[in-house]
């Protein structure tokens, strides 16, 4: 546990200091989105990495948060902070209710059910034009504000979003090392065994599903207030898959891995701009290579790679490459 505290403090310090060398650079803007994606990846990791349940529809929760905040603040002028809480509770509650029947399913049936769920909500975002503005989007969402402090530039949004993300990470680290975390890992390894040990598997899975959905909704609200404009294309099937990819590329069950995955996949398009139209090929190839050569995700892969390179450099035969 002590190690975890140290890790978190170092991570938080780095996050807090990162804007200093960036000043007004557009990279700061990219890092704001890294923050939102990290929040989402951490939320999905709770479900995927800890409870071992796949979801190919998480973009729907993200979208629900964004649209609840967007519609209620832009069209009805309600208090944004109140709506964020309301959105988290509503979406979490909805996930809790839906979780009971859906999480009964296993493997690819669960994949299919969550996928279908995501598509249904995507269609709803598109079709309820009176509320959401439909495919042309919903403009005019206000920035968040506390008193006279309005979160209207990248720097302020950076600290707002990373503040929430760091708090969530803290919550998840705690959760992972609690009784619940151990129970979750037991489910991941063997549901039957966990049940035999007296874990209420079903309830626990549904609770995690709801928590994960609620965090995603918060991410959605923050996204809406940062962008001040939302449209359904940001909440489709592709984004759900991208989230799953972030979690797996980062490292299943590792919270900091989720950050690495989110950071890589958010920064990648910027780095791949050099490839022009062919960035999609580079992206696909990278996914394949990473899965083959870094099966444990970035969080294990990078230290392994470093060790490997180090052993090559010093001429020693590294036997360590397998650990991590």
């Amino acid at each position: 546990m002590k190690r975890e505290v140290v890790k978190f403090i170092i991570f938080a310090a780095l996050v807090m200091l990162a804007p200093l060398p960036l000043k007004q650079s557009y990279l700061l803007n990219v890092l704001v989105f890294v923050g939102i994606n990290t929040l989402l990846a951490v939320a999905l990791n709770l479900l995927l990495g800890f409870a071992g349940q796949i979801s190919l529809g998480h973009a729907a929760f993200f979208g629900m948060g964004a649209y609840l905040s967007g519609i209620l603040t832009a069209n009805f002028g309600l208090n944004p902070w109140l709506i964020i809480v309301l959105a988290a509770v509503t979406v979490g509650g909805l996930a809790f209710v839906l979780g009971f029947p859906i999480l009964k399913l296993k493997g690819h049936y669960l994949a299919m059910a969550t996928l279908g769920f995501g598509i249904i909500f995507y269609i709803v975002f598109n079709e309820t034009i009176g509320l959401t503005g439909g495919p042309s989007g919903l403009p005019g969402i206000p920035n968040l504000a506390i008193g006279s402090l309005t979160f209207d530039n990248d720097l302020k949004n950076y600290y707002l979003i990373w503040g929430v993300t760091l708090l969530t990470i803290l919550l998840c680290v705690n959760l992972a090392h609690s009784r619940i975390g151990r129970a979750l890992r037991a489910i991941h390894d063997s549901e039957v065994a966990a049940r035999v040990m007296g874990v209420n598997v079903r309830l626990l899975k549904v609770q995690i599903f709801a928590l994960s959905a609620a965090i995603s909704a918060v991410a959605g609200s923050l996204y809406a207030h940062t962008m001040t404009f939302i449209s359904p294309t940001s909440f489709g099937f592709n984004f759900s898959v991208e989230l799953v990819t972030m979690v797996i590329i980062g490292g299943l069950g590792s919270i900091y891995g989720s950050f690495l995955g989110a950071a890589l996949l958010t920064l990648l398009p910027e780095l791949l701009r050099a490839f022009r139209d062919y960035d999609i090929i580079a992206y696909g190839a990278l996914l394949v290579f990473m899965t083959i050569f870094m099966p444990g995700g970035l969080v294990r892969g990078i230290p392994d790679l470093m060790l490997f390179l180090w052993s090559r450099l010093t001429g020693k035969r590294g036997g360590n490459a397998q650990t991590g």
Partner: protein, 380 residues
């Protein structure tokens, strides 16, 4: 570990960035955001091609008053988040003086708050009426409003004494904008919408919707979409033996549609920019010179037919060129000069911007064409 990686990535990106901006101090930098890949690539690709072509032609002719142009294009993939990131990069990293695009209404709406705050003129290539109404200080557009295309079709229907129509629109931002206008203007023309159906952008069979339409009282069918959907609809309508006259949108105003729909395209009527029928226009037409120039250049550069959508980018670059020629060189002066563009005969129509109007086109920007013998026929 994490920190190091992050820091390394940041340094790498910073170095790249500095390298970029140090390289090109001289030319005037223009940014462009197009949906080159993704579902809206039918817009983004011709727009990107056209913009690059026009800039290359301007530079070949010695630039604008001796100054070269540099065009920096980023792909938005039709995704609002990516559009905003790319716009940020254009403004803060590349330090462009103006931005052309984005291609879709959604991307444009996403970028508007940013350009308004950073005070960079934006010339959108998207058609949504929301872009320039209400007026935004820094935002212009070159694509004709969908309302003009709808009006063109409705005027024809009124002349033919048709008052009951069925509409079938694609469920993306192009189709929903058309649908909104079709519904909004129906009453003004005394037209009644009998059925209001949609189809998905990737749907492969629309016989169900068409069967429903066949069972209704509609006297004509108006379909709003971009390839390949409308081609599927034309073929499905032929399969079902649907007798209604079929109207399409300017979304399919290219030879590609005729190629895809084959015989089923015969007799379909659609509004289009003049680019489609450039050859058929009378010599007195003010746009004819621009249109023929664009068509010829595009054919030479890409060995393809230049289309309506590429035309939006042509107009945007040429409007910018005009502004710069009149002495503008900073974002603020470019905006001022853009607002003073009058009587510019482009591809989309004759542009007259003013402090009250940042769309600048009148209702004659569209003509109505009919498909006959696999070619276009100007409808009088």
């Amino acid at each position: 570990m994490l920190g190091k990686t992050l820091a390394a990535a940041q340094i790498a990106l910073l170095v790249l960035g500095v390298g970029n901006s140090a390289l090109a101090a001289q030319p005037i930098k223009i940014g462009a955001l197009f949906a080159v890949t993704g579902p809206a690539s039918f817009l983004g690709e011709p727009e990107r091609n056209t913009a690059q072509m026009v800039v290359a032609e301007i530079n070949r002719a010695g630039g604008i008053k001796g100054q070269m142009l540099e065009l920096i294009v980023y792909d938005t993939q039709g995704d609002a988040t990516k559009a905003v990131q790319a716009a940020n990069r254009l403004i803060k990293e590349d330090r462009v003086v103006a931005i052309i695009g984005p291609s879709t209404t959604g991307d444009t709406m996403a970028v508007i708050p940013l350009v308004e705050k950073e005070q960079i003129p934006l010339i959108s290539c998207a058609a949504g009426i929301k872009i320039t109404e209400p007026l935004k200080k820094w935002v212009f557009k070159t694509a004709q409003n969908d309302s003009l295309a709808v009006a063109k079709i409705y005027e024809r229907l009124v002349r033919q004494k048709i008052s009951r129509v069925a509409i079938l629109t694609v469920s993306d931002s192009f189709g929903s904008s058309g649908r909104e206008q079709l519904k909004a203007q129906a009453a003004r023309f005394g037209i009644q919408i009998e059925t209001d159906d949609t189809y998905g952008p990737k749907d492969t069979d629309m016989t169900a919707q068409l069967t429903r339409i066949r069972g209704s009282q509609a006297q004509a069918l108006i379909c709003w979409g971009t390839n390949p959907g409308p081609a599927v609809i034309a073929r499905n309508a032929k399969q079902l033996g649907l007798k209604l006259p079929l109207y399409m949108s300017h979304g399919v105003s290219s030879k590609k549609f005729i190629e895809l729909a084959g015989d089923a395209a015969e007799g379909i009527t659609l509004p289009s920019g003049r680019v489609l029928v450039a050859e058929l226009l009378p010599e007195s037409d003010r746009q004819k010179k621009s249109l023929l120039g664009f068509v010829k250049d595009y054919q030479r550069h890409y060995n393809k037919e230049g289309d309506h959508f590429g035309g939006h980018a042509w107009d945007a670059v040429m409007l910018l060129k005009g502004a710069i020629e009149r002495g503008a060189d900073t974002p603020a002066t470019i905006r001022e000069q853009l607002e003073k563009s009058r009587g510019f005969a482009g591809i989309g129509g004759i542009f007259n911007f003013s402090p009250q109007d940042h769309a600048g086109l009148a209702s004659d920007a569209f003509v109505l064409v009919e498909i006959k013998n696999r070619d276009w026929l100007l409808v009088k």
